[in-house]
Structures are given as C-alpha cells and as structure tokens.
C-alpha cells in the first residue's frame, strides 16, 4: 500500500513540529505532501524548507487539491471543528491538535461530521502515549486499584511569564483562544484524568482566577472540586503563575493508591481490599497490609510521533486508535464546566449544558480585547 499523504492545516508552533516529524522519515507509511498557512511570510519559509511539499494559501485549496488522504488540523483552537468538518465533507481522514475546540457544542458537530463521513478521526493527545499513564489506566481498568475513591491532580508546572502572553495579541484573550490554562495548557491532563480512570464527573464546582498573575483576560489559576457518579470525589488544581510547579496525580481506590510524580509511578496495593478488611477487622487501629510497588521498565514515551504512527497505522492496516478524535469532547466538557461553574459561582452538572456555556463564552468574546 502506498504512503498516507498528509496535508497540514496551519503551520505555527505545533504544526511545524509535525511537519518536521513527517518529513524526517520517522513515521512509517506517512508522507507530508501539502501544507497551508494564512501567513505569507510563513508560506515563503515553508517553500524554502520543504521544497517537495505543495504550499497553499487557504485551507479550501489544500482540501480540494487531491494531494492528500488525511489532514492534520493545527489551526487556532476555535477553528478546529470548522476545519475538521470541511475535511470530513471532502472524504478526508482528520487528525486534530488539542484542544478539540473551544466549546463542547461545536465539537459535537465535528464528531457528528466524523461519524457521517466514515473517515478516521484522531486527536493529538500525545500524553496518552506515555507508559506511565497507560499503566495507570491499565491498573484501574483491570481492577487492580479497585473501585475509585478519590482523584487529585496538582498540575502547576505550566509556568508562563508575561513575555509568553505578549508574544501574540490573540493569546490569552476570550476572542483569540476562548480560555487560558484550561484550554491551552491543561487539555492533556483533563483528558488523562478521565481516560485513565474511565470516569467523568457528575458535577463540578470550580474556582477560577482571571488575569491573577499576568496581564491577560482569561484564567491563570483554577481549583476544581468534582464528584463522580460512583460517589468518588476529586480535585484538579492548575496555574501558569508558579515556578517550580508540581505535576502530581494521585488516584485512590479501595485496593490502594496510585501516584504519578517526578516521572515515576508508584502503586501502593492493599493485599486485601479495604472494605473486606474493614468488614472482618475488630481492632480499632489496625489496617490492611500494603505493598509498595514500583515499575522499573516502563520505557520512554513516543509522544507526538507515537500518535502520528498510530494514526497512520490505523489508516493503513486498521489499527485501533489510541486517541480517537471523538473523545476530545470529554476533557473539553470538563474544561467548559469548570469555566461555567466559576462564571456562575455554582455547581455545574455533567453532561454539560452546552448552550449555556456557549452563551456565557460569547458574552466574554463580545467585549474581548482580542477581537478582530
């Protein structure tokens, strides 16, 4: 079978990384054949750097070129659903950058277009390739951790100085990005949080601070408390204003505790489940036997190249997708619910009232300094 011919829509920070990977020969069965970018300067640079790749001015020109089997959508967040839908309508496969979009309602339309097209749909959740998080998911899905009791993610190592925000007038504005640390930095953790546990919250109470540490419109600090359908609870804390930050993910179950921190996974496993121990125990200060388990050989993460290879394998041989595009709505719904809860200062139930979020977001876009 011939190589999958990829077209790249948008070639900024993320897109140029994918262009390099695809043209390096690192992805078996993949070739970069076309690129489009809205910036004339960028197109000059692209033609010089990738002489064998056709460079287009517009998304439509690329989609209609007949040069591509699949596209990678690496445009601004707001445009992901629109660009993906345009590609699906032309019968192309689509791999989108994260986040899936800005509002879950529009991402739902993208998911529907994907289903109607019959084409493959992936999302660049490269952290799903990390063996640490794959092992967390495995230990939970296989029942080793038991019924989940509590989740806790402190993800405060997304430090961004003011110079970062000043590097683009669209950055960290409601009109330009539709959100801050939740939309731009945390989509991976919001995805992994539900992907590793297999649990979506049933309701969320979030506390967001907007422009607290930086001169920006959007949130740069978030603390969210969630409750799950099974009675478990959870906390998610993030900020771009701290350094050195923390990236510590803890999940407790009735058979023990998992902690991912400093690039290591530790599993404290109870030899006997806590409810079983509690039911038979008669000693006031006793507790079940615990084992501290480490995982010496989990190996490195293939990251973005891993997602590109998996998506290519899916197109060539029907390999199962590790990060189906349809699942982008899950982490985004959590993000939307956090925003809505903070704006309204109340609980937000999931499934999300997508129209309510859209209305509240639009109010902020209408007065955003990032308009136009």
């Amino acid at each position: 079978m011939s190589d999958i011919r990829y077209g790249l829509i948008g070639c900024g920070n993320m897109g140029s990384g994918h262009a390099n990977t695809l043209t390096s020969g690192a992805i078996r069965g993949a070739a970069l054949t076309a690129v489009c970018d809205a910036s004339a300067d960028r197109r000059v640079w692209l033609r010089e750097r990738y002489p064998s790749v056709t460079v287009f001015d517009t998304t439509e020109a690329l989609l209609d070129s007949g040069l591509v089997d699949a596209v990678i959508v690496a445009t601004p967040h707001f445009d992901h659903p629109k660009d993906a839908i345009a590609a699906f309508r032309r019968g192309l496969h689509v791999l989108i950058e994260k986040p899936a979009g800005v509002s879950a309602g529009r991402v739902r339309l993208m998911n529907e277009a994907a289903a109607a097209s019959g084409r493959r749909f992936g999302i660049m959740y490269n952290q799903r390739m990390n063996p640490l998080y794959q092992k967390v998911r495995d230990l939970i899905a296989s029942g080793e951790l038991g019924e989940i009791r509590r989740t806790n993610w402190i993800i405060t190592d997304w430090y961004r100085p003011q110079a970062y925000y000043d590097s683009g007038s669209w950055r960290a504005t409601w009109a330009g990005e539709g959100g801050g640390v939740l939309l731009n930095q945390c989509p991976h953790q919001l995805d992994l949080w539900q992907w590793t546990t297999g649990l979506m919250p049933s309701r969320i109470r979030a506390f967001c601070h907007f422009g607290k540490h930086r001169d920006i419109e959007v949130e740069d600090e978030v603390t969210a408390y969630v409750e799950y359908p099974n009675g478990a609870t959870g906390v998610f804390i993030t900020t771009t204003g701290e350094t050195p930050g923390t990236n510590r993910y803890e999940v407790t179950g009735d058979r023990g505790k998992l902690v991912v921190e400093n690039g290591r996974l530790t599993f404290w496993r109870l030899r006997e489940s806590e409810p079983e121990f509690n039911a038979r125990n008669t000693v006031p200060f006793d507790r079940p036997e615990e084992w501290k388990i480490e995982f010496p050989n989990l190996g490195p993460s293939p990251e973005h190249a891993g997602i590109l290879q998996n998506f290519t394998d899916a197109l060539l041989n029907g390999a199962p997708l590790l990060a189906p595009g349809e699942e982008g709505i899950l982490g985004l719904s959590i993000s939307n619910a956090m925003h809505l809860s903070a704006w309204r200062e109340e609980w937000v139930d999931l499934p999300l009232d997508e129209a309510a979020f859209e209305t509240e977001l639009q109010r902020r876009i209408d007065t955003s300094r990032g308009r136009g």
Copy 2:
C-alpha cells in the same frame, strides 16, 4: 524552685499517655500529683498504677485539693472550655488537649477566662515540636519563601476502621464529639496550616461527606477550598476512609515551593523572585533559576514530651510558649467554618459567625444518636 505539681483531668487514651510521661521523670521540673477520672474502674486502675498520685472522683475535687499548680485537661472535646475555665477561676495554669473545644464561641470564653486569670495557658499541639514544620514556619516567616501564593494539604492517612468507631458509643456522633475527622484527627494539621504560614483564610468553601465510608454520623471526608486576604488560595483534603493515605503539605510562594512529605522537607528556592524575573524577562518560555534544597539535620520531634517540657519551663522560668492555648481557636475556627460551609452549601467568611455555627451544630446534637 520546686517542681510544678500537675493535676490530670481525664485519664483516657491521651491522658494516660501524659500520666506515663510525667511519672517517668522525662520532664524536668514536673511532677504528677493528682488525677481525676469519671470512671470508677479507671480510678481503681490509676491507684494501682500510680500509688503516689492522689486520685479524685471529680474535676472540682481535684481543682480544690490544693495539690496542684497546673492542670492538663484531657476530657472529651466538649468539656475542654468548661474544665479549663474552672481551673483558671481557681488560679491554676492550664494545658489543654486538642482540639481546644468543639465550637469557637465557647473556646473564646475559655480564652477570656485565661486572660482574666493571668495564668499560663497552653495547648497540646505536639506537632508544632516537629522540626519539619518549625522549619517551614521559619522559612516563611523569614521571607525565604516570599509572598505565599498557594497552600495544599492532602492529609488522608488518618485511616480508621469501623472497629475504631464501634469502640465507644460517643465516638463520631454530634452529641459525643461534635464532629469527625476535622475535630478528632485533623486539629494538628489545621493548626499547622495557619501556624506555619501565619495566614488565616478570609473565606472557605468546603465539601463534607458524613458517614460516607463508615457507619457514623459525622464527616469522614472533607475537601475545602480557601482564599486568603493576600489573594493566595489553598486546598485541604482529609478522610479517615483511605489506606494507605497521603500526608503531603505544599506551600508555594513567589520565591519557590516547600513540600513536606514522607517525613522530609524539600525547598525549591528561586534564585530571583518570580515577580522580579517576570518583570525583566523577554523570553516566552524562560523561567527563573531554581535550587532544590534539602535539610539533612532537622532531627527528631520531641512530640508531647516537648510540649510538656516547654509548658513546665514557661511556668518555672518564663520560657515563651510554643503552643499558647489562645491559639487553639484558630484551627478550630477553620474547622467550624468548614462544617458550616458544608451544612449550608455556601461560602463562609472568616472571622467566623460563631453563633451561626453553634445553632447549626446544636440542631445536629438534638437528633444525635450519641445523646445521653
């Protein structure tokens, strides 16, 4: 100067520990001369075990005996203010067990009685003797950590099986103890949280689960979000239902981060404060230089014996108290505010509306299975 003659009011779990310490000779300048306990069986045991100590039936008899200079109050939580006030009125010095009481309003009356008496007043916050937390306080008070940005305490290693709760019909009832994990297990952390930082929250939104993991009336799982007057935020998470739990305390400032976990303190110090770096930096993904600092020689904690020695030294030579009794109201006010926020499902401001807490607690006491 002769030894301080201590009377012990209440000789259950905690009291008998203090009796052993005082009679062991470990505390310089201290002698146990009198004990009282409401249980006749307990008094028989006390007379056998401590033949040189006078054993009384009632608190009043001990207080009026003329045999003591100071008392240690180790009665049930509810009785601490009443017993301490009775002792102050007789001109005795008082060291109370934690918590200071159940409601901040009654503890305030105790503080007023202490002030009126002119006697010394201490509280058994033995974890203030821990060099780890003393160093945290030192690094914050001296400005090494800079302005505090965020606090986070996950204190879930208070595992208690049902057999613990079944060991006394008063346990974990509103009438018997006035609360659960916040009142019984967490007073130390609620104290250290404010003592190490020097910050009391300005408002609290707490989420408590009552009898979630055990057949009890009171809370056995709490997640609380707090905001401080300087704009910092914090989270406090506790439960008695998990094992193996976590005890991890993190404080972030604009000069770095402190973490206490697994009996170790780590200080990530920024060479330049974050706001100073941010003001001069022009590189989007740069960050200030950080140092990882460890403290190899902090030494062991003298715990309860340390508090007993310090209180004795205060009486004999005017040594400053490490845990003044008047400060018991601080952690308790946080605890009361968490309860009130959870009961009312809304924000609670500090300083606390003590009457509102008392009213809500009384409603629960009135229907408690622990009455009588």
